[in-house]
């Protein structure tokens, strides 16, 4: 816990993976607070629609910029483009992109496993390092990364995606440690289940599922409070505490 990273006169942010269901809700939360936004996603047509909607509803500047997390060499010019459009160094960045292959398919088809790592982990490292250095040099800003409870412990149902998210969680934790003295805030978000296009059609336990709006509000609230890590919804902290503490000899026999 610390001071409010949103307490700055520079009200600008970049949202990566902006066509994600939660990203749209997060963008709305920021726009409600008067932020000028860059929304970036590989599905540009969709992002443009979301940006127009956010701009119209909240009467803020909201721009769509094409962005592919796995086109690593484009990330530097992308950051330049964000600066140009916003007219300032963005105050913060929220990473929402993610790719979750079907576990069985990822086991059998390495291309899918690779895409999971390339997107969730490598893509995140590539783009966030650039923002991190810029924010570090400026001595301020915030970075939010959407990881997952799947990264808290590897389970047979989802360990390839989980491995990528575990890597992301570890990366964000290191980044936080490094940027702390520069006054740059890093928030790791660990959603459990959210009702998004990623999970639609899967049999999810209703009461445990967060709506995108609920998730977005929880994330922005955690950011405002200067938290380092937040589970969405909050009770996943306790569920994961239990799951992490099951001894490995026991865990390996379980079906969860």
């Amino acid at each position: 816990m610390g001071r409010n990273p949103l307490d700055s006169a520079n009200k600008t942010a970049v949202i990566l993976g902006a066509a994600s269901t939660v990203a749209r809700s997060i963008a709305m939360e920021f726009a409600r607070g008067g932020y000028a936004l860059v929304l970036a996603d590989c599905d540009h047509e969709e992002t443009a629609r979301i940006a127009a909607d956010v701009a119209l509803r909240f009467d803020v500047a909201c721009h769509a910029v094409p962005f592919d997390a796995t086109a690593y060499c484009t990330h530097r010019p992308f950051l330049e483009e964000c600066r140009r459009i916003l007219g300032v160094e963005p105050q913060g960045v929220v990473l929402c992109f993610g790719y979750m292959p079907e576990q069985r398919e990822a086991q059998e088809d390495f291309a899918k496993a690779q895409r999971a790592i390339d997107t969730n982990l490598t893509g995140a490292i590539s783009v966030l390092e650039l923002f991190a250095s810029a924010f570090e040099a400026r001595r301020g800003g915030f970075i939010v990364g959407l990881s997952s409870v799947a990264g808290d412990r590897g389970r047979k149902a989802n360990y390839i995606y989980g491995a990528a998210k575990a890597g992301l969680t570890c990366f964000l934790s290191g980044l936080r440690n490094r940027l702390h003295t520069a006054g740059v805030h890093v928030l790791t978000v660990k959603p459990g289940f959210m009702d998004t296009k990623m999970t639609y059609g899967m049999p999810l336990p209703g009461p445990l599922v967060a709506s995108p709006g609920q998730a977005a509000r929880a994330i922005v609230r955690a950011l405002r409070k200067g938290k380092d890590e937040v589970y969405v919804r909050f009770f996943w902290r306790y569920i994961m505490l239990i799951i992490r503490n099951i001894p490995e000899w026991q865990f390996k026999k379980m079906n969860i």
Binding site: R49, A52, L56, R57, K197, G201
Partner: protein
């Protein structure tokens, strides 16, 4: 690509007759094409917020395309009031966004929790029908996905046949993706309302005729249980958008500020005995007794247009078996049919909170649009034993007087009844047959009413 779906039991707002449907919830418009091409579903129907009372947005054993996440607003021109948005945008969202900027819906039903797509597909009407017509009359154009996978722009000029078949066409001619609608400029978020207590039905009808021209909005609450000399006693509620100059000082300075209300929720299904005729009668007496004839009341748009929206899930008040809403419209010349309907209702004592009575203006060009010049009576009827035969009796009265039912409300009517009530049905079928020869769009209602063959 095969899109994911969830098998779910769906009903209309009246909650009778749950049916298992395969619900798709696309978040990108182009996915609708994949969905419509998925031949593993026998047919599809689009669904908005499910505020229709019966089975228009239910599709037993087939696909349902839920528009909850296709709700982006793309463009707004403050010079003309024209908004372009996706069909899943709700009227509540439009008000929230544009009322503070001085624009209101051109037509609104009694709930703001409906989508633009649903408002077009039922060609909904509001308290201003006598003056302004239906929602469809404020639609400049829409993008329609035909079941054969063509995206067609339809307007009164381009593809006019398809346009007027789709306006009021209960989702059977295509999936509306986006629409351009014209909002009306207003100068405040308030209504100046005049209330008039009428002694009986004749008094109410005479008052409507005499004063409707002076009010943009007019509607009456009818005590459906009053009998004899008091049969059809009403409280007429008529109003116009308020000018800031009409508002008291504190409001005049901020004419678009409305004190938010505390919404309530009905947490469980109520036991049916709460709605027994005695309780309803006591309630109606209280209601009628409470209101006096007063003029110039200042009331905010939310309380004026959407009194029921304050209580979320109020449909649960009718218990697990649900209810139907019966909306009957009679042409002006046979308004006396209202007496027959009200007499039948008050003797049968099937209860209903209040009924709503409204004078309609001229019919519009929508082939299956409901409103026609005359009077419309709407009331809720709980689902108890003997419901269907009772409704058939009401239908009979309606047919005898040249009246018609509203498909947005209907759950049980017989096909032959509806065929008589909607003389343009054959023309509608012909247009549907052209754009959807395989009947890929169908619904539980369409099959029940024989609009689409099974």
């Amino acid at each position: 690509m095969v899109e994911p779906f969830v098998a779910k039991s769906l009903t209309g707002w009246g909650r009778i007759a749950p049916r298992v449907c395969h619900v798709y919830r696309p978040e990108k418009p182009r996915l609708i094409e994949n969905i419509l091409r998925d031949l593993s579903q026998p047919h599809f129907i689009a669904r908005g917020l499910g505020r229709s009372y019966g089975d228009t947005a239910v599709n037993e054993g087939g696909g349902v395309i839920d528009f909850a996440r296709l709700n982006r607003m793309m463009r707004f021109d403050p010079a003309t009031g024209v908004l372009e948005c996706e069909a899943g945008v709700t009227l509540a969202e439009i008000i929230e966004t544009f009322l503070p900027r001085g624009f209101f819906l051109p037509v609104t039903p009694g709930t703001k929790f409906v989508t633009v797509g649903g408002a077009i597909a039922n060609d909904v009407h509001g308290k201003n029908h006598h003056r302004d017509g239906t929602f469809g009359q404020f639609v400049l154009d829409f993008g329609l996905y035909t079941p054969e996978g063509h995206l067609l722009l339809c307007s009164p000029e381009d593809n006019p046949d398809l346009f007027w078949a789709t306006v009021g066409g209960i989702g059977l001619t295509g999936v509306i993706l986006t629409a351009r609608i014209r909002l009306q400029p207003v100068r405040s978020a308030y209504i100046v309302a005049d209330y008039h207590k009428s002694r009986d039905l004749d008094d109410a009808l005479a008052t409507f005729e005499a004063s409707d021209a002076r009010y943009q909005y007019s509607v009456a609450w009818v005590d459906c249980l009053a009998r004899g000399a008091m049969l059809g006693r009403c409280i007429l509620m008529r109003g116009n958008h308020a000018d800031p100059a009409q508002l008291p000082g504190s409001l005049a300075a901020k004419p678009f500020d409305v004190r938010p209300r505390r919404d309530k929720r009905v947490p469980v299904d109520c036991p049916a005995f709460l709605l027994n005729p005695l309780n309803v009668r006591v309630f109606n007496n209280l209601f009628y007794g409470m209101h006096r004839s007063v003029e110039g009341q200042i009331i905010d748009y939310d309380r004026y247009f959407y009194p029921l929206d304050q209580i979320h899930d109020w449909n649960r008040l009718y218990g697990r078996r649900g209810f139907v809403q019966y909306q009957a419209t009679l042409p002006t010349e046979s308004a006396k049919g209202l007496v027959a309907l009200l007499e039948r209702l008050s003797t049968e004592r099937r209860g209903s909170f209040l009924g709503v009575l409204k004078r309609f203006g001229d019919a519009g060009p929508g082939l299956l649009s409901h409103p026609m010049k005359g009077y419309t009576l709407t009331l809720d009827i709980p689902n108890r034993t003997g419901l269907v035969p009772f409704l058939r009796e009401l239908d009979r009265i309606l047919l005898d007087h040249g009246g018609r039912l509203y498909l947005a409300k209907d759950a049980v009517a017989a096909p032959e009844t509806v065929a008589v009530m909607y003389p343009d049905l054959d023309r509608f079928r012909e247009i549907k047959g052209r754009v959807d020869p395989e009947n890929r769009l169908s619904s539980s209602m369409a099959r029940r009413l024989g609009i689409v063959g099974v």
